[in-house]
Subunit: 70 residues, 12 copies
């Protein structure tokens, strides 16, 4: 049988100059510094910002799901 | 006349092996431990997880709205 | 070149008896008390509550985006 | 062969202190007092309101579909 | 300069055994019996119902917009 | 404990040559003529119409929520 | 490390005269007859159908997720 | 009283060079070859494809709902 | 192997007094006057406008997709 | 009877340091420089950007609808 | 002139420990084992699951579109 | 204080046989040929097209945002 459990969903926007996959990593790494029990991430939006006519930053908005202690 | 007030909206995912109504209770009870001034919840999503060919857990994703102190 | 950076998105509901623009200000002012590095707000929903047959409160649900320290 | 028929869709928000299923019943019972030919309801949103740190009311927003007389 | 005016939006579901265009007509004709000042319709959904393995009815859910008298 | 109650949600589109806030007022004032027990409004859409190359009308589509008598 | 795996998502609409929870069970039981490896269900829509002025059927549209064999 | 019943929802994209109504027919006819107990179709999307500067094909994406045998 | 190619998506609203299919044609014909390489259209919204209590115009909002020259 | 007519929908994001209403005006004024036959605007999104802990800019994303010459 | 043709849309969730692009490949490869005439895939959702504080699996939910034989 | 500024949002669909990241680049490069002042891109949809049972093209639909000259 399942058990009672509660998780929280928070949203972050992470940036990397390399790519979306790296941006997800940047976000996950930063989130892991302050949140325990992360179980997953969900991509909400993917943007690219441009400076001086060049792709400058890959930006991923994502949900971070983590289990709340009892 | 109304007054100035600010509330926060946070999202949790609560699980119970019994049903959705119980999962909402599990979530509310846990949220009440850490949040004062909860005014309401809004159901965002209802899922069921299955293990060994049996319904194992009822999972409700919900918004929790609580008033911020001044 | 862009750099690695992470921002958080949180949601508040701010009320003012005057108007939506004032409600946004109420929300921003309150958020600034506890959050550093706010870069922007996004309006999610605009409601009006009515009491004794008169418009009583303007309520704006908005996202608050703020940069997380390293 | 099908026939020509027109139904109307109206929206209500029904509340019950007991649960969502009861709230649907409260809504259906009230709608039946004024509307003939109801064929169905569609749940649009489920909220819970909290007072004095306790779940106080289950609120269901629903569409009511009823056949219009010729 | 524009003037102050208020219109109402109501939703109906109209059926015809012939096609969607005819179903819209059925709906408009029925609505015109009870509503004055209709300015437009907006298609919300198009369904087909099947009986005895044959397309039986074309069903259009639509918004009806009509001007409210002062 | 909460009590059983039912509210109705209807939609109007109100126009004003002055601004969105005024259009909301126009809509609320007109709705109050025919509906008792209005508890709130929710903005659904904001449009501007243009005539002779000038902004002519501010149009707000909004939900009106009002309590149904027993 | 995670492994390579593929699941399928199919949609069913299950009905029960008793309630939504029972309708989910009816759907799950029927799906389990033909599908192995079901991991979860996600509620998509909840409707009630009415006959002879009484609530007759609770209808839940849900996704069924099941693991595909290699 | 209602009874227990389960239907399945599958999606097809049907094309016809004549029009959307014909494309729905093409889809329904093909689905009827392999599916028993079809109760209805729901239009999800309507596209037109163009070749050599002429409208070439009307394409309708639709849900097909059919009753599952016990 | 595929090749590198870029298409543009633009949106038009076309009207015809006859029907939606004709409105799509009106839109496509007009778009073809100024755009080369149109590959397809996608229906976004279907409205009807009413004048003097009669259906006056069928209005289709659609995306027009066309290939950009190198 | 209606006539054949085609309008185009384009999207702009206009900024003003004063407010949303002013931002709409900035957008409309700029659009009117290059587009003839504008019939309306539709607000898509409202954002505020913050600099040095102060609300710096009101940003409105809006659709601009204008009639295409024959 | 176009021809009559029907395609089916099915949904899968594919996982890979390497990345989203690889997960799409895993899904496509598995789908190709059972489905002929696949014409395309559409990404619906991208998730990452985390185990022992490390990104463990990249999960892509996608539509698979394939042509049905006559 | 912010200043008055207007940007335009246009949509393109870019294809590459290599991957989504490359398709974004293809789109950005092509857009840069005709548009000055591009500030960013937003991914709207990601599709893959299949030919001869192999993934043939990665297709990204994206918004391109660019500043309009005064």
């Amino acid at each position: 049988m399942g058990r009672e459990q509660v998780a929280r969903v928070t949203e972050i926007i992470a940036e990397s100059p390399v790519g979306f996959k790296e941006a997800i990593n940047v976000g996950f790494t930063r989130a892991s510094k302050t949140l325990r029990g992360i179980t997953g991430l969900r991509v909400v939006e993917q943007r690219v910002s441009v400076k001086d006519d060049k792709i400058d930053t890959y930006r991923v908005r994502m949900e971070v799901i983590f289990i709340l202690d009892e």
